[in-house]
Symmetry: C2
Subunit: 307 residues, 2 copies
């Protein structure tokens, strides 16, 4: 990862335009003709971001969902997307991938308007890039930074389902159920993001794990963070014997795509929000689960090259 860190440093040195937000945010924000465009791009690679034998329709869905989630974190309305597609050499596979992608795009009103297909050399892993373009709906456009000491931290929903679903799939590729569905068909929080955007000091999606993403928000805001609640879904809770250990695992699992936001208070919204902690002056992170302060795990979540 140190080579990657060095590369990101070089990229940041190049990306001096204010629209890039120092490459420290989920998306770029570019003013154009009286609008502010929200721009994001994510790549999925077989064996890294999905299991090579995952159903292709679910991979297509996920490619759309992870990009939509970055728009959601900015409260943006999807406008269009472009795809870079490495042909798999298997026409049926490609068709099923497109069907899943199309389902997600249709659900969230993001038209595919262009891109590029390439044929990869034999043996190369499947990989796909989607670039999503949205229109900001609030001013300012929420960022990871901007949290203030005393802000309360809220989540749009429980965490850990997708990570538990992945564990089930790794044990049994034929596993099904709500946790597997959470892993394979993440739901980007578009409506919630737009409703929250005018009211938050900071917002981001939880893609790499609640602890690591909360730590990133705090660091970007020059603050620390205290987390005293790790919300679980009933489906996940039902699978746990040791609840505290299960919550710790849920807080470091990835691919949840719930929104995390910092705000002094939230108005009445048409959906429930879960309060999980607060931003504090003192840097660092404190975690307590069910009233007991926990030592921080060595790994707070996934580290990867989101730029």
């Amino acid at each position: 990862v140190s080579g990657e860190a060095a590369f990101l440093d070089l990229l940041r040195a190049m990306a001096r335009d204010p629209a890039a937000r120092g490459l420290m945010d989920d998306a770029a924000v570019l003013p154009v003709g009286g609008e502010r465009l929200v721009l994001t791009s994510d790549t999925l690679v077989a064996g890294v971001h999905f299991l090579p034998d995952d159903p292709p329709a679910d991979i297509g869905w996920k490619l759309a969902a992870v990009n939509l989630s970055d728009l959601a974190a900015k409260g943006a309305q999807p406008l269009a997307c472009l795809m870079g597609y490495a042909l798999s050499g298997d026409t049926g596979w490609d068709a099923r991938f497109l069907a899943g992608l199309g389902e997600a795009l249709e659900t969230h009103g993001m038209p595919l308007v262009g891109g590029d297909t390439v044929s990869m050399p034999a043996g190369a892993p499947r990989s796909f890039t989607l670039t999503a373009i949205g229109r900001a709906t609030s001013d300012p456009v929420p960022a990871r930074m901007g949290g203030r000491a005393g802000d309360r931290l809220f989540l749009t929903g429980p965490v850990g389902d997708a990570g538990a679903g992945l564990a089930q799939l790794l044990a049994d590729r034929d596993a099904t159920g709500p946790l597997v569905a959470a892993c394979r068909r993440p739901r980007p929080r578009m409506t919630e993001g737009r409703a929250l955007a005018p009211h938050v000091h900071a917002m981001m999606d939880v893609s790499d794990g609640l602890l690591i993403d909360a730590a990133r928000m705090a660091r970007a805001s020059g603050l620390g963070v205290e987390i005293d609640h790790v919300p679980l879904s009933p489906a996940l809770a039902a699978t746990l014997s040791d609840m505290r250990e299960g919550k710790l695992r849920a807080a470091t699992a990835g691919d949840d795509y719930e929104l995390l936001c910092a705000a002094p208070f939230l108005p009445d919204l048409r959906f429930p929000m879960i309060e999980i902690g607060r931003m504090v002056e003192a840097p660092g992170m404190k975690l307590s689960i069910d009233g007991v302060e926990m030592p921080l795990p060595e790994r707070l979540g996934y580290e990867h090259g989101r730029i």
Copy 2:
């Protein structure tokens, strides 16, 4: 290629938004806030679009240049770009790639504002995707379609240099000179594209070969095309023994990135344009070189998955 054709058919069925232009054009055109955005995305894969041992700075340059060229074909002003980058595992290589990319972006005023890095599994070919966003400067925004019978066809410069440079490199990886430079450091015709856009009925960049790209423009316009001049650079002409055969090769070589446009006439411009033929009612293509009508070669240029 039939699997790819089937895939493109599926994509076109999905891409019904008018911004997609039926995926038949070099770029999408999306109206936003009183502006029209021009959107394009191109992927380069080692062993497909560049030689694995090409200098990394040239590959970075080329990634920017091919996307900029798509903007040039729309007369668009570059606004921003996002990159999907597969880390090579070689920090020095990555740094040199970025230096070349940065040089091209700086030259053409297109800031890098975001993207994604991924680590590929060992042995995977290097691949990079750039998505470029520009602002249209003319109304309508030129397209491949729109040519009219009787329009004259013009090129911004000679063709075949890059293809000849590639042939030199395949024979001798240490080859240098203007043809190799044309292959490795293509120059997108930004200024020319913007100056031409208000005056043309149709425009596109010549990336896959003059014959195949002219045939695409004619087909998209519901017309045929006659080409009676294949302009060569002095550097290329100096390497040829059989001029007619060399011109035929130049007309089917790729990676030229000159602009091809159809217009009844062109006003005085600050750069020379080369007239090469005309659009005609009768579908199909006629080619004559130095006054002699030639049978069309079996391969008119590169077929690939630009969508």
